[in-house]
Amino acid sequence: MFAYSVRRLLVSIPLLIVATFLVFWSVRTTFDPTAKLATSRDSARVRAEMRERLGLDDPIVVQYGRWLGDAVTGDLGTSTRTRQEVSSMVWPALGNTVQLIVWGFGVSLVVAVGIGVFSAVRQYSIPDYVFTALSYVGLAMPPFWFALVASQLLGPGLKDALGLDDPVFYVVGLHSDDGGLDLDYLQHLFLPVLTLTVQIVASWSRYQRSTMLEVLSTDYIRTARAKGLRERVVVGRHALRNALVPVVSVVAIDAGLLFGGLIITETIFSIPGMGRLFVEALTAGDAETVLAWTLVSAVFVIVFNLLADLAYGLLDPRVRLS
């Protein structure tokens, strides 16, 4: 099992390299760092100088190699847009994004498992039908639209409806002024996390419900009941343990995909995280930042896939041996 994970990790590295190379090639052929100098005096010579300095006439593979080598040692280059070190932009942004991931993830997991288990145990009850209907809507809901509507209704909308001076839930950023884990922070977190949660919970809870239903109809659950165990123990100790296993791996894999989903959320709620950084950088043609972003998010995805495998092995002993 351990060897399997290591092998998977090793296979991922060439994938990472090829994928980032494709992005590198795309970005390099789209954005010309010397374009800004086109209007300056003596532009041909100045631009040629810049090309020389940045090594832009070398074969693309060589350029890529250079970039990768630098990136691996922590040097993510300098942004042609902001003149800053890319790493000084990326790390703070990552910090903010991670906060959203942790909160969004944590809340979603608890809610999804709760709804899924409840719906399975109380199949065909009214709450089950309600949850099913809600998840249909949740799955069909375009996330960016939900964010917009939520920000309108629960942001300025709620504020006006209650006649308050300050909004209950904020729609911009993570803090009003200075940082800190206070009520203000939570008021800012609420809407972005809600946006993330709605979509994820819609799909995870369905999956949890169906795995739970499958588990509840197995022979070993019948054995557990035949032992005279209380229903609470049957569901909580026997059923849930088994039903969580496939869900955990789905969850871990989705977590890697969260990076993409956050692009929308951060943009709409103006949170200075990786998602918004990506949009700004790509819109402005900031190649270095886009590349750094790609590398970081790819690593993220790979790490989470690995965690999914490990979690599976941890939860299901049948997978562990050799």
């Binding site: 022979d219 054995t223 209380r230 296993v245 049948r318």
Partner: protein, 326 residues
């Protein structure tokens, strides 16, 4: 005469399915005395498992149970679910057919066995652990301390079945229901598992219900036997009576289809037709396949159970006319 350990009277079980109601068990009456081994024989779909699940109270909510099931005088049908839960695993225990799927794959075997004790008695973890090792030893699992820490998929088929038995006898139940305990095993292992049952009954006064389609098993271990067909009991009696002097045509067909070790008997007889469908014909359920069926009678009148002697009964309109085999 002492009251029987288990008395089932007019038991009927009906399921609500997407194809309409299905009567899985109908008009079932039998009794089991303390300490005896009672065999239930039938094909798949005969209702043998469902009737035992009814005794355990393990039927799904789509099932409607009517009739009476008395265990040590207490009525189980319609009883308080909490009462039933207390009896389950403690006074009445069940061993299921496929031990691989019947054991929780992500939980250690020792814990699963210990759980049944913890569910009904206040014990310390240490005491439980000891008792579990003892039980695994009693059922003949070598290296019980090590095995208790393993998972079900690390056990062989026979060992898993023994572990299930260990679990079922942990609280020394009065009645042990074994549903096809040997069907999923090879012949040599079958014999070993039956050995275990025998040994258990020597030590304690446990009554055993042995559910199986294998007549050989019945012949080997049972005191009395009930033959089921299409959800009803069609013949009951001691093993000697039923095997040597079968009365119902179905029982006779079953016995006639057994190969004989002594080489005699010629071609194997078989029971023609198909197992009973969901919608039963009017009259006797076995009539479509019965060599003795008489049109106009057997296919119109559903036969009632007739008790010809205490504990000896059959359900056939023509049984006296047919005469017995012996």
């Amino acid at each position: 005469m002492t009251a029987p350990l288990l008395e089932v009277r007019d038991l009927a079980v009906r399921f609500a399915t997407e194809h309409g109601p299905v009567q899985a068990v109908d008009d079932l009456t039998y009794r089991i005395e303390a300490g005896e081994t009672f065999g239930i024989v039938g094909e798949s779909g005969s209702g043998k498992t469902v009737s035992s699940l009814a005794v355990m109270g393990l039927l799904p909510s789509t099932a409607t149970v009517s009739g009476s099931i008395r265990f040590r005088g207490e009525e189980l049908v319609g009883a308080d679910p909490e009462e039933l839960r207390r009896l389950r695993g403690d006074r009445i225990a069940m061993v299921f057919q496929d031990a691989l799927t019947a054991l929780n794959p992500v939980m250690k075997v020792g814990l699963q066995v210990g759980e049944i004790i913890a569910a009904h008695h206040d014990t310390s973890a240490a005491d439980r652990r000891q008792r579990v090792v003892e039980l695994l030893d009693v059922v003949g699992i070598p290296n019980p301390e090590r095995r208790a820490e393993q998972y079900p998929h690390e056990f062989s088929g026979g060992m898993r079945q023994r572990a299930m038995i260990a679990m079922a006898i942990a609280n020394e139940p009065d009645l042990l229901i074994a549903d096809e305990p040997t069907t999923a095993l090879d012949v040599t292992v079958q014999a070993q598992v039956l050995e275990v049952f025998a040994r258990i009954q020597e030590r304690t006064d446990t009554a055993v219900t042995m559910i199986t389609h294998d007549l050989g098993v019945i012949a080997g271990v049972a005191d009395r036997v009930m033959v089921m067909y299409a959800g009803r009991d069609v013949e009951q009696g001691s093993v000697d009576e039923v095997f040597y002097a079968p009365r119902h045509p179905y029982t006779r067909g079953l016995l006639a289809s057994l190969p004989r070790l002594d080489g005699g008997g010629g071609r194997l007889e078989r029971i023609p037709g198909n197992p009973p469908s969901v919608v039963l014909p009017p009259g006797c359920a076995f009539s479509p396949r019965c060599g003795f069926a008489v049109a106009g009678r057997c296919d119109q009148e559903p036969p009632a159970r007739r008790e010809v002697a205490p504990g000896r009964s059959d359900r056939c309109l023509r049984v006296d006319e047919i005469g017995s085999v012996a």
